[in-house]
Amino acid sequence: MTRFNAFSLLRNAVSGHRNWTEQWPDSQPKPEYDVVIVGAGGHGLGCAYYLAKEHGITNVAVIDKGWLGGGNTGRNTTIIRSNYLYDESARLFDHSLDLWQGLSQELNYNVMYSNRGVLMLAHNQHDVQSFRRHIHANRLNGVDNRWLTAQECKEVCPPLNIAPDARYPVMGGALQQRAGTARHDAVAWGYARGAAARGVDIIQNCAVQAIRRGPDGAVTGVDTDKGFIRAKKIAVSASGHNSMVMATAGVRLPLESMPLQALVSEPVKPVFPCVVMSNAVHAYCSQSDKGELVIGSGTDQYVSYSQRGGLPLIEHTIAAISEVFPIFNRMRMLRKWAGITDNTPDRSAILGKTPVQNLYVNCGWGTGGFKATPGAAHLLAHTVARDAPHPINAPFSLERFRTGRLIDEAAAAAVAH
């Protein structure tokens, strides 16, 4: 692996870029692995990376039915934050945020983590109460988050409309300065490169058809397009299609898969310095380093595995953007797309062991999985390596739906996500 730095870039520039080597090889499956990870998104690749780096487990394959990073890793709006209400969530996402801060250096791959700040807007008394509750809880949890008046919001984000006679006037906002965005593809590629360098096989265009179990109930391997692959342990991290993969092992997950759309505008010069989220009107916006406004939508309200959303939701999303940022009304949408989110009843993830021995699951991230990438990957690796959850992900067990110990951020915010 060629180490990336300004000198190697310069050296290769001089030699016409002919000497760069591949960032990860095109691996074909071996007959057996210690760990097979299903799903080569940021979470799965990251898990492989940490298994190799922190737990010394390198006989690992990451298998994907498509190309790596092509699911929700490559389809999200890259918002990263940790100002969650409940202790369990705050710890999980803050763990992730800590890892984000040094991820470029860790991977020797610039993932462009940008601490540009995430501003969440309050549009009514209920929002104000809810955000204040978050801010108080975050303060006592040591999580950065502070209240801004409408005027202060405008100073942070000049395109914002704070007119008091707006349909949903801005009554203030909560700003997490440490939060921000990152370059999504680079996260997948950086983990892939780091994992491959440590001996992990990344097997693309190879669909997992079924998880096989032995007479004792424990997993024995996966049937794939490229034949049966034996595995001592299997971790499933296949976002929108988790429920289908896990069903082949006889595990029914409390998941509903729904399309979530996003879009970008044509690129323009810097005009939008931070990330703004408005749950009340469903407007989520930032500007990429390339100059495109990156805009997230609400979830299409039907269950589907097709990566294709409807027009009405886009109309509403754009209307919300034009409402909150009226100067953008003459901007143009360049492209839109959809991903499939897997949603749990409490809208929090499931990350841990399953009733099947040596089968682990990382799912249910809904609309918020990207921000968790390094954290989830790190914790999943720990859980797989030790056959026991890390204290941070222990509360995110599948068991909680039986016991009722839910972590319901959506209900706590009383916002329909």
Binding site: D26, R132, H136, D289, E315, S322, I327
Partner: protein, 996 residues
Amino acid sequence: MTSFRVSGKGRVDTARPVNFTFDGRTYQGCAGDTVASALLANGVHLMGRSFKYHRPRGAVAAGSEEPNALIGTRRGPGRFEPNTRATMQELRAGLETMSQNRFPGLSFDIGAVNDAAYMLFSAGFYYKTFMWPRSFWDRVYEPFIRAAAGLGVSPSQEDPDTYASRNLHCDLLIVGAGPTGLAAARAAAGDGLSVVLVDEHAEAGGTLLSEPQAVIDGLPAWDWLAAELAALKDLGVRVMTRTTAIGYYHQNMVGLCQRLTDHLDNLPADTPRERLWRVRARQVILAQGALEKPLVFHGNDRPGVMLAGSAQTYLNRYGVLVGRRPVVLTSHDSAWYAAFDMAGAGAQVQAIIDLRGDVAQELLDEARRRDIPVRLSGTVTGTSGRLRISAVRVNPVADGRAGPAERLACDCLLVSGGWTPSLHLFSHTKGTLAWDEDRTTFLPERTPEDCLIAGASRGLWGLEAALQDGAQAGIRAAGALGRNRSGTAPRVEGDRPGTGISARELPTDRSPGRAKAFVDYQNDVTAKDLRLAVREGMRSIEHVKRYTTNGMATDQGKMSNINGLNIAADALGKPQPQVGLTTFRPPYTPTSFGAFAGYHRGSHFEATRRTRIDGWAEAHGAAFEPVGQWRRAWYFPRPGEDMQAAVSRECRAVRRSLGIFDASTLGKIEVVGPDAVEFMNRMYTNPWTRLAVGRCRYGLLLGDDGYIRDDGVIARIAPDRFHVTTTTGGAARVLAMMEDYLQTEWPDLQVWLTSTTEQWSTIALNGPNAARLLAPLVEGVELTEEAFPHMSCTECTVAGLPARLWRVSFTGEIGFEINVPAPMGRRLWETLWEAGQRYDITAYGTETMHVLRAEKGYIIVGQDTDGTVTPYDAGMGWAVGKAKPDFVGKRGLARPDLVAADRKQLVGLLTEDGSRLEEGAQIVFDPQQPVPMTMVGHVTSAYHSDATGRPIALALVQGGHERMGQTVHVPMPDRTIAAKITGTVFYDPENTKLKI
């Protein structure tokens, strides 16, 4: 200035000159021009700068696929848009345009230093550097990169224009009004079929507009076109121009964006700028045609290098010669015709260079006849000229190797790499594509939609083939719609079908590693970038695309995708189908936000729901607050009063005499049917079987997880009829939940649900004098403790109006809720207001309602509960019908964690220092602990209570019910507040005030 306008050519109106400006300089064009054609007519090729290297660029195309000629367009204050394609913006009087992404100017741009350092800025270079020191990313590198990126500048003012939208249902939608689409429409129309034909250009005709030489059924092409359009009009076909089909959605829904004013000299009043159409068509025919491929060679981006077919369009449609001394470089026959047309219009064609060694004899003959030098098996290995091409470097090719170079002077270079079917909308349907080796392109295969694709968009070249295939598609679509059609396609003379080969990066005698052979013009992606991506392990075309940004420019890969695929496939040593094509995503061309937002802007972003009494509240000075889509009277300040003073006065009035409150926003659902009581038993926690007609009960609704979702008082109007109320914000959610259960879980129940929120106006009267005021106005019931006790309901008349009268209280005082048909609400309100003057009746708002209910410990769902609170947590176990066999949430409620001892439970809090707590503040047992602290609950409601003379609060506290009298702590940023846990009822715990 030299004019490149050719008299007698084109469809522009040379008698109607139009002035416009480009970068501050005034130019003249004609009515019918685009900005690009008008600039070219003035000899201006330099129109923009590229994204990364800031290389000078000119228009390379004549349509919506243009990647280079992007300009800012302005019409006075507020009407500015960046990144407009000069090739699509029609000229209008006074149009101001400006170039982008350059400083200080278009001709001299400092950013072009990037071009000199281009070896550093290879594909993905930013992933490999800018990592040290770590803190520099946010402070130095990223701001620098951001400032360098972007194309035009964002608008800075609010958009003064309006936008519209409309739904359209039709039998057949045809996308593309070129020869294929026209023939399809003609074949299908008639017999009452509703046929819609749309085209993105200003006029219908497509390639016919660029091919006036053709003769169709004996008529010159343009005469035939006019006759055909007239015939379609007679057949009732709706032809929509300036209308782009932007996206193809599930079940044959196609989104259209129609541009209505951007081309007009004078802006009409009251006309929307654009209109979004949501078309649901029974059948769709896609006739989007094909896009010409550029050729990939060093210097292929210099202004003056243009697609041959586009040059033909500029000449034949706009009457503009893009150069007087063109060189033509091609791998396809079609560019030969462009050369012939140029020569026919007076250009001195310097050479036709064909990559092929074997070309049809009639083309060679025609070239000879016109004295055009021809070089077969040739290539171009470079271009020169600073801001405009002045010469090409031409080499012969033998065995794939370029021979000695020769310099050929020229003023433009027309290129063609053949044609690629336009499959964008087809791909939106998730239709599958099949690789066609003969045409070296992907062709449409199967789609799940009721969709046909015809003409050049399925790889058929030439006018006659297009007309035939279009007619066939029209016949098939009509057949699918139950109409038998037949017909023959018209005869065509002067057709130019042509063939060609698909070229890769052209052979060169220079180092390919040094070549700037552009594939994606706008994003400055070169062939060597693509090869670098492959070298670095990017094997999927999606990876190549994302690593190099090839195909991610504002032309969405229309110019670059197929060349990028071919080059990547070669580098990988794989056939194209194994490398795959990137997904085409909507919209087809960039579409303004305004078109999507449509009517939903400003106060119309979402409807503001107002009660019938809202006008009275406004007239009486109410302050309002938004609650969901409603606006509700928050409080009624008198002159000089702040919110606190007004609320205290309103509270006092209710407690001492009489208050009146508009409760109309409460959700209302009429639950009716023989199984209504069974349905209610299953939905709500409470038992309903024994609730007598004429009685009310507080109902609690859980989710299946056992947590409180909604609540409200419910009246039994008849044995089979309940009048359910919900929270204001929960109305739609509760109805949806009820319908969900009724339709999917209990379809056997005979129950009908009707939302009646908007049918009733609801007025609440509260206070010791409530009955006194109301009694004389009511007919049909005595308002005595015996005849109409607390929690009664009846149908009667109030002030002569038909009413459902309830005796309920959300304040702790004697209370009535009077429901009258909505339109009568204001009349009743004013009657009560008038009659209540003797009791000093006081109107109160939501804030006072909140205080009064908190004094009584009544919860507000969503404030004192948050979706994690059980009835037991809220101290309302009494509302759970334990004997009932089942209800929604019963199983969830039995889960171990929901019956655990240390759950957070609703309690009252009284601060020790008498200060008022903040809602949302967190509670701890040990105030001395370090961060992160163990939090045990939070304050859900906090008010100043006038009745008790002190601040009160409700809170959820871990194990709270067992901790009465204990002290907890609320750490605030500046201090920690100690508070004592109490019961939740702060006022009249014995309910003595409820008695009449």
